[in-house]
Amino acid sequence: MSSSVPAISIRGLSKSYRIGLENAATTFREALIRKATLAREPDTTVLWALRDVSLDVARGETVGIIGRNGAGKSTLLKLISRITWPTEGEIRLYGRIGSLLEVGTGFHPELTGRENIYLNGTILGMRRHEIARRFDEIVAFAELDRFLDTPVKRYSSGMYVRLAFAVAAHLDPEILVVDEVLAVGDAAFQRKCLGKMGEVAREQGRAVLFVSHNMLAITSLCRRAVLIEGGRVTEDAAAGSVVQSYLNSLEPIAAVSLADRSDRRGSGALRFESITVRNVTLGGGLVRSGDDIEIDLAYRSAQPTLRNVHVDMVIHGPFDEQLAQLSNTAQRGVFDRVDGTGVFRCRVPRLPLEGGAYRITCYSEVDSDVADWVIHAATLNVEPGDYFGTGRSNFEGQGHFLVAHEWTAGR
């Protein structure tokens, strides 16, 4: 497969939105008044979602697109998908394009699995006879043959996603554009889809553009990655190094200040001032499963020294359930004597939390008397990471904890 055959060629692509436009002239009356009074366009701010982007993708290439939320990744995909039009620049597409910006676009809950396969397939740009030809393959891939004539409103969310992916996985375009859709679905099926996508790119010489926040998915699927920051391409190189510089670019989480929190309890013998989370392995603020992290609790008190100090943090899950307690008393015993103002540092080697958002409650006692207690002091956003050190991602939504373990088989 020659890598010089172009699939996508983008030159000087820019897209601006006028903020405030939708509020400004959405009724006839206002538009007419503006025309009548010869008023100029109202004060609108021009926001450049994408600025002067140039990019070439060859057949057989899978390119990962990474960047923070709002960096312009989705705008780029929408422009390539012809959902919206550029303000400046040009995109040349050398082949049919299939976009997967959402799982199950156009699915209707009242329609059966069979009906939705045809509807969704046509919406994604397949001809009816193409779907008919690949229908059995799609059904087999989704593993849902028994529920084909059941309305999808009766499907579990897992079944729904499987059906949606199965249709998408059988798109046959020369260029495939995939947005953050792999964040849902069960682990085994996600792997199947990732495998299918990789296979599509390598063996059939297609070009795949893949947006994800899952850095492991990016590095395992793409050889090349593009970093978009503030609407511009700031790096375009081997996936590994782009991912690394993206992770480095994430500033350490600014310390969450607790000084102004009034919803706290305790005597005030000491007060938490801030929480700072640091990734020791990466040396940044990105918290990732499997990395060593440190959490600093800065505190202050009126005393020069404090004696007999207990401190702990409780980690809450999405339903506010208490998942774990990190307590100095349990781990080493109370601090006999600490400075009146300073930092409690808690080191968590090989963070065993799944990707997701967790909340932290801070608690302390001085001389067995509640000193400070801040419920939900900070949110801990954990990115999925390579906990097992095998180069495989752990998948979100399969529990909260990663447990070191080993499988064997025998008889």
Binding site: T27, F28, A31, R82, P86, E90, I91, L93, E102, T122
Partner: protein
């Protein structure tokens, strides 16, 4: 290096839709139309009953108010049959209009997630209107068989009048669909306008009862010729004049051209504004 299949450049102002592209997406048009019909008639009994009940009720009310109370002449065998036929024809127009008008805003998630010529949406909305219309027409023919008005050869012209009604509805509805994305008050104004049109057109009364002084203005409404023609074909009432037919045909063609143009003009902004 081969030529690119698509070149995407900043949207130019255009007034003519890309018909070749529209044709390439005919499967989608049919699939969306099929979906609407399936969803409407899935609970089969209710779906059909509503479609038949509407002209029944309207025909009943109109024949009491306009036939009995106002004692207007319909020129047909019975005022009920006259009003019933009028309402079936009217629904064809009104449904084509309102469903086309709602088609784009109602499917915002498709518009922001997938590419297709947006004109697919108002056109595919016509499918369910057609099916509803056929059900209404079937109920009308049952009435005809029961009430046995004389058979007319002009019944063969029926498709012509129906096509005019659909064209008028689709054309105006497509303009409304395009404008409603930019101007949200369109969707609030539309039901009022449709209601006004119902009474400004010969649905509940015959064109013949309109006073001579304003009849000229009345005939300028392109719906007049189509509704009169429809009833002439079905019931053998007074035929529309040649001038009236000409106005209707011109109106229908203009509505379609105007609808396609306005839509093409706004089409590329839809995903940004919706």
């Amino acid at each position: 290096m081969s030529a690119p299949l698509h070149v995407i450049r900043p949207a130019e102002r255009r007034w003519i839709p890309d018909f070749a592209e529209l044709w390439a997406f005919r499967d989608l048009m049919i699939a969306l139309g099929r979906r609407d019909v399936t969803l409407r008639y899935r609970q089969t009994v209710l779906g059909v009953i509503w479609v038949v009940l509407q002209p029944m009720i309207a025909g009943g009310i109109f024949s009491v108010i306009f036939g009995r109370v106002a004692k207007l002449e319909s020129g047909a065998q019975s005022y009920f049959l006259f009003a019933y036929a009028g309402f079936v024809a009217w629904s064809g127009f009104a449904n084509a209009l309102t469903r086309a008008a709602a088609s784009v805003l109602g499917q915002g998630n498709l518009v922001t997630k997938v590419f297709f010529p947006r004109l697919v949406l108002p056109i595919s909305a016509l499918f369910s209107t057609m099916v509803d219309f056929l059900v209404g027409l079937a109920s009308l023919s049952v009435l005809l068989v029961v009430m046995k008005p004389p058979f007319h050869l002009q019944m063969l012209t029926l498709p012509f009048w129906v096509a005019l009604l659909f064209a008028l509805g689709l054309g105006v509805g497509t303009v409304a669909a395009a404008l409603s994305v930019r101007f949200r008050d369109v969707q609030h104004a539309l039901p009022v306008i449709v209601q006004l049109l119902l009474y400004a057109s010969p649905v509940a009364y015959a064109t013949a009862v309109v006073p001579e002084a304003i009849r000229g203005w009345f005939l300028l409404n392109p719906l007049t010729g189509a509704l009169d023609g429809f009833r002439w074909a079905v019931l053998g009432t007074v035929a529309p004049s040649a001038a009236s037919i000409a106005i209707t045909v011109a109106g229908a063609i203009l509505a379609l051209i105007f609808g396609a143009s306005i839509f093409a003009r706004f089409e590329r902004q839809i995903a940004d504004v919706i």
